[in-house]
Structures are given as structure tokens and as C-alpha cells.
Amino acid sequence: MKLKYNTEIISGIVFLIAAAVLWLLIPSQINTLETTSINAQTVPRIAIGGMLLFSAGLLAQGIFSNPKKEVLITKATFSTESFRRELKSVLYAVILLLYTVVLTYLGFLIATALLVVVILLFYGTRKWYYYAIPLVMVGIVYFIFRTLLHVSLP
């Protein structure tokens, strides 16, 4: 499959869809009792309307004026170095989002210690003291926040 694109086309489409969905959600999400023409819906409408308008402009700019990249998607594309690097970023995002789930159940100390180990493994770290320093730091942060700042971390 042959694809012609640039970041303007991709982001233009994404924001056009996002803004259209948000615009349709306004009546259900902002259920105001105000009867005046300027009310709680006004500024969100201006912001979302602006997003809609400017993403249409961005899309037009991407289609008509900016240079486009041409990519040929084949089976080989999925084994290239650049694809692997992109996959790494996605994996990193998944690790961070999973951390928020683990944090809910295991609490700050254990979840953050686990996150530290997973991130260092992700970077392929082998030196033991590279693990020890941030792990000790997690303990120090926990102690400072709980005892000195009186923040009861989960």
C-alpha cells in the first residue's frame, strides 16, 4: 500500500474528528439553565469551534501546500529499525499508563519501585547501582512527603 502524507494532514484529520465529536457533546455535557446568549457554553463553543476551523485550515495546508512524505507499506516495513523505534515509544507509553493502574492497587512505594526497575530494564541497564540510586530515591521521597510534608501518599 502506498501512502502520501505529512503531519499537517494527520493532525488536521485527528483534530477535525475530535472537535466535531466535542461539538456534538456540548449540549449533553454542558447542561446550563442560563437563558442569556452568553452562558457556560459560550467559551467552550468558541474553543471547540476554533479547533474545528483551524484543523480544517491545517488539513487544507497539508493537502495543497506542504510537501508530503511517500511511504510504501509492505511486510518489510514492520521489520525496519524505524518501526521498531516507534514500537518502543508505544511500549513506553503503555508502561506509564500501566503504572497508574498498579499505583491504585499497590500504593506509591511498591508501584514506583516496580516502575523504576521496569524503566531501567527497558533501557537495558546492567549496573546494579543504577538500580540502587533511584530505588533509594523513591524511599527518600516517600519519607519526605509522608513525614515532613504530611502528604499521605497512597
Partner: protein
């Protein structure tokens, strides 16, 4: 004059000179940790001041306030994460300077500019407080909206690669700022039935997600074997600010401090807005605007002088009118009351000597800030030598703890990671994050005053152009956008030819 001399006498006691460095050190630490603000530092230390003399107590809290505003620049420069919202504009050039191996230089300039801004602000508080307060009293909803529009005009300067992307970013920011309960009508907006979203998305939480988490995500493809840079310890502090650079930064610091004082004295604004406006003005008036955003020392000087320039000035409406300028001064106002001083016009008459001691003390606070900062800047600069994989873990730890502490809620932790991942994808699409931040910062100021102004004018938009101060701000905003457009057009034409 009598009160002034009595104030000097009250100030020059050894206890005061001992407590100021303690307050500054606390403030710098709190300011440098993303998620913790000087507001929190002041709140935590108020109970410690109960047994102190009023002057000593207020000076300690003021030191935390000023130290916190400066401290936020350290992380903005070193790890692309402003410690407080007031330092957001510092990362435009601060972090690029660190990437170029000039972290020590950027930190030194941030300290110098913060000190000068703070000193000018302290002198303005001492000598011009009543006059400045009178000017800010002229500000009504129309003027505040015009001021917010003026602040938003910065977008033109920071999104010169694609104005559409900058404008979409601003719309996203304004949209985020509307989430939660509407202040005027009490209507909930885009909360999707979640109680945790009723109070909206906290600015600090958005900052951590937008900058800290997305920055860590940007380095997800970092390979320690190939990308690791070995930095020689002795070379870090060699890159000092030259005499020529100090000379070059005189004008940006002057503009920044002046803007800081004016914006800071206007209630409901704050150091963050002052820093953005100062940065924009300095960039516009520069002979080499194209170097801004690429590690230009003048950019750091402008934003840091402005946010610290706002510190003393936020006290002007509080002390003269009894109206706190921002969150920190509202807390300080409470501290004044705890110590038997009621801010307002009567304070000058009833407790003039204490008030002068505090205002003079603010000058001493800024001098101490420079001395303490100078000693520690060398150590901060060495943070750049920490292997990235360790730094990422430490930053994530602080961000999580800091985000949680904002309102003792796990919800804020979820938000920083979700915002961070989304911001990462935006950065990959060549979006600038600053317009989003501007939208979040200025959205509430713009919305509240837009609606108030239209209520006052019975829905007529003419209120924004018939009031002279409002019209002046709007014209300057339009003028600065046009100026940027012309400059960009010329630069592009030059590139083509």
C-alpha cells in the same frame, strides 16, 4: 520618614537575618520540585511562625515565596519542566541552553535576572505602592480580557513554524481550562459525570503532564550505549556568563522587571503571565528574534526577571487595598492577619514601622537569594551529568508524588500520565506545547472577564474598544501579531531568494 527609620531598626535584628536564608532554602527546594509550589511551602510553614515576631514570621514566608519563584527555573532549565507555572516561559530558551551544554550559564543568568527583577519589584513596593495601586484600580473586566488577549498574542511568536498548529494548541488549552464547574453559573462542563473532574484540571497537573512526562516520553528511544554523552565535570562550570552577555541582557531584564511589576500589581494575573508577555516583548524588540527558542540567554533573562519582578508587586494591591494579587499573596494575607496585621489602607497608618521593616526586608531577601543561589548553582549544573536512565526514574518519582500532593488525589496522577502521553503524540506531530499552556493559563482569566464585561454592557462588544486601557492592550496585541507575521514573511522571502 519616622516609620521608615523605625522599620529599618526593626529589620536589623540578627534573628531576621538568620530566618531569611532558611526560608529561601525551603522555597528554592519546594519551587524546584514539579508539583510543589511556593503556596504549599508557605502553608506548611505558617504553623512554624506562630511563636515568632511578626516581622520575622512574614520575612520567612516572603523568602519562601521569592525562593520558590526562582527555584522553579532550575528544573525548567535542567529537565524542561518548570517547577512552578511562573517559570513556564523560562524553558523556551533555558532547556535549549542546557542541551547546548550551557546549563551553568542559563542557571547563573536566571539567578541574576531573578534577583534584579526581585529588587526592582521590592523598590517599587517600597516607593510606588499607592500610585501603582491607583492605576490597577482602573482595571475592570474589559481591561482584564484585553490583558488576556494580549497574553494570548504570544502564540504568534512561539508557533512560527505553523500558525494553525499554534492556534489549535491555544483552543485545546482554553478547552481544558473550561473543564469542571463553571465559576459563574455553577454548571458542570465536560466532567462526564466524574466528581473528580468537577474542580477542573489543576494548572500544575497540566504543566507536569505537558512538559515533564512528555519530555520523558520523547526520550523513550534513547539508547544508553549510543546516545550517552560523557560530560567532563570541570567543563560544566567553565561556561560562564560573559561580560558582553550581561551587557546584552540589561535591556531584557529592564523590560522584564517593568512588565513584572505592572502585571504583578494587577490582581488575578501573576508571574506566569508576566513572564510570557515579557518574553514576547523582548523577542519582538530584539535584532535577532530567530535565535529565541534556540537557547538565547536574553530569553531566560526576560522571563526570570519578569516572574520575580511580579513577586513584590503582587503585594502592592494586598498591602494598599487589602486585595491579594494571587494565591500565594492570599495565603500571605492570612499570615499577616494571624500576626495581628490587617492588610489595607489602615496598615500604613497603624503599623507603619512593621510594614516598612517587611518591605525593606524584601530587598534583603533578594540579596540573600543571590548569595545562596550563587553557591548552589554550581551543584545544580552537575545534574546534567546524571545518566539519563537514572534521571528519568527520579523525575517520574517526584512528578508522581508532586501530582498526588496537589489535592491528595490519585486522579491527578492519572491525569499527568494521560496528558503526558497525549502531549508526546502532539510533539511528534510538530505541535508546540506552549500555546496549550497559554490557553490553560489565560483561559479562565479571559472567560470570566469576557462574560462579566458583556453582562455589564448588556451584551455589547463595544465595551472592549470604548475603554482606553482595554483598547490599548487590544491594539498592542494586534500590532505584535502583525509584526510577527511581517517578520516571518520577510524571513521566508529571504530563505526563498
Amino acid at each position: 520618614m519616622e516609620a521608615f527609620l523605625a522599620g529599618l531598626q526593626t529589620l536589623f535584628q540578627w534573628q531576621n537575618f538568620l530566618i531569611i536564608p532558611v526560608g529561601l532554602a525551603l522555597g528554592i527546594i519546594v519551587g524546584a520540585i514539579p508539583g510543589l509550589t511556593s503556596d504549599l511551602g508557605i502553608i506548611l510553614c505558617i504553623p512554624l511562625t506562630y511563636g515568632m515576631e511578626p516581622t520575622m514570621a512574614i520575612l520567612m514566608l516572603l523568602a519562601i515565596y521569592c525562593g520558590g519563584t526562582y527555584g522553579g527555573s532550575i528544573t525548567a532549565i535542567l529537565i524542561n519542566t518548570p517547577g512552578t507555572s511562573a517559570n513556564a516561559a523560562t524553558l523556551f530558551d533555558g532547556y535549549p541552553m542546557t542541551k547546548k551544554g550551557q546549563a551553568y550559564k542559563a542557571l547563573s543568568m536566571a539567578l541574576f535576572a531573578s534577583t534584579i527583577g526581585g529588587l526592582i519589584s521590592a523598590f517599587a513596593l517600597l516607593f510606588l505602592a499607592p500610585q501603582i495601586a491607583k492605576i490597577t484600580l482602573l482595571f475592570g473586566p474589559a481591561e482584564y480580557l484585553a490583558l488576556a488577549v494580549f497574553g494570548l498574542s504570544v502564540i504568534a511568536g512561539v508557533s512560527n513554524k505553523s500558525i494553525f498548529k499554534g492556534l489549535i494548541g491555544a483552543c485545546i488549552g482554553i478547552f481544558i481550562s473550561t473543564i469542571g464547574m463553571d465559576n459563574i453559573s455553577g454548571t458542570t462542563r465536560f466532567t462526564f459525570g466524574k466528581i473528580n473532574l468537577m474542580s477542573g484540571i489543576n494548572l500544575i497537573i497540566a504543566l507536569i503532564g505537558l512538559f515533564a512526562i512528555s519530555e520523558i516520553m520523547m526520550k523513550s528511544q534513547y539508547n544508553p550505549r549510543t546516545d550517552k554523552k560523557t560530560i567532563d565535570a570541570s567543563s560544566i562550570t567553565k561556561c560562564k556568563v560573559t561580560r558582553e552577555e550581561y551587557k546584552r541582557c540589561r535591556k531584557p531584564i529592564g523590560i522584564g522587571s517593568l512588565i513584572g511589576v505592572i502585571i504583578g500589581a494587577t490582581p488575578g494575573t501573576g508571574g506566569g503571565l508576566a513572564a510570557f508577555i515579557a518574553y514576547n516583548q523582548v523577542k519582538q524588540s530584539s535584532k535577532h528574534p530567530e535565535t529565541f527558542g534556540e537557547g538565547e540567554i536574553e530569553g531566560v533573562a526576560a522571563s526570570e526577571s519578569a516572574n520575580n519582578g511580579a513577586c513584590g508587586a503582587t503585594m502592592i494591591p494586598m498591602l494598599t487595598l487589602g486585595v491579594p494579587g494571587d494565591g500565594a499573596t492570599a495565603i500571605l494575607m492570612g499570615a499577616f492577619m494571624i500576626h495581628g496585621m490587617v492588610p489595607g489602607p489602615m496598615l500604613f497608618r497603624d503599623q507603619g514601622n512593621l510594614l516598612y521593616a517587611i518591605m525593606l526586608g524584601l530587598i534583603v531577601v533578594n540579596i540573600f537569594m543571590y548569595l545562596i543561589g550563587s553557591v548552589f548553582t554550581k551543584f545544580y549544573a552537575h545534574i546534567t551529568r546524571i545518566p539519563y536512565e537514572i534521571l528519568a526514574c527520579v523525575v517520574l518519582t517526584f512528578c508522581t508524588a508532586g501530582a498526588y500532593s496537589t489535592s491528595n488525589s490519585l486522579y491527578d496522577v492519572y491525569i499527568i500520565f494521560v496528558v503526558g502521553v497525549l502531549a508526546y503524540f502532539l510533539r511528534r506531530m510538530d505541535f508546540q506545547l506552549v500555546p496549550i499552556l497559554l490557553g490553560i493559563v489565560l483561559g479562565p482569566l479571559a472567560e470570566t472577564n469576557f462574560r462579566r464585561a458583556l453582562i455589564l454592557s448588556d451584551g455589547s462588544l463595544s465595551i472592549f474598544v470604548t475603554r482606553p486601557i482595554s483598547l490599548a492592550f487590544l491594539l498592542i496585541a494586534v500590532g505584535s501579531v502583525l509584526l510577527f507575521a511581517i517578520k516571518n514573511h520577510r524571513a521566508k522571502a529571504k530563505e526563498i531568494s
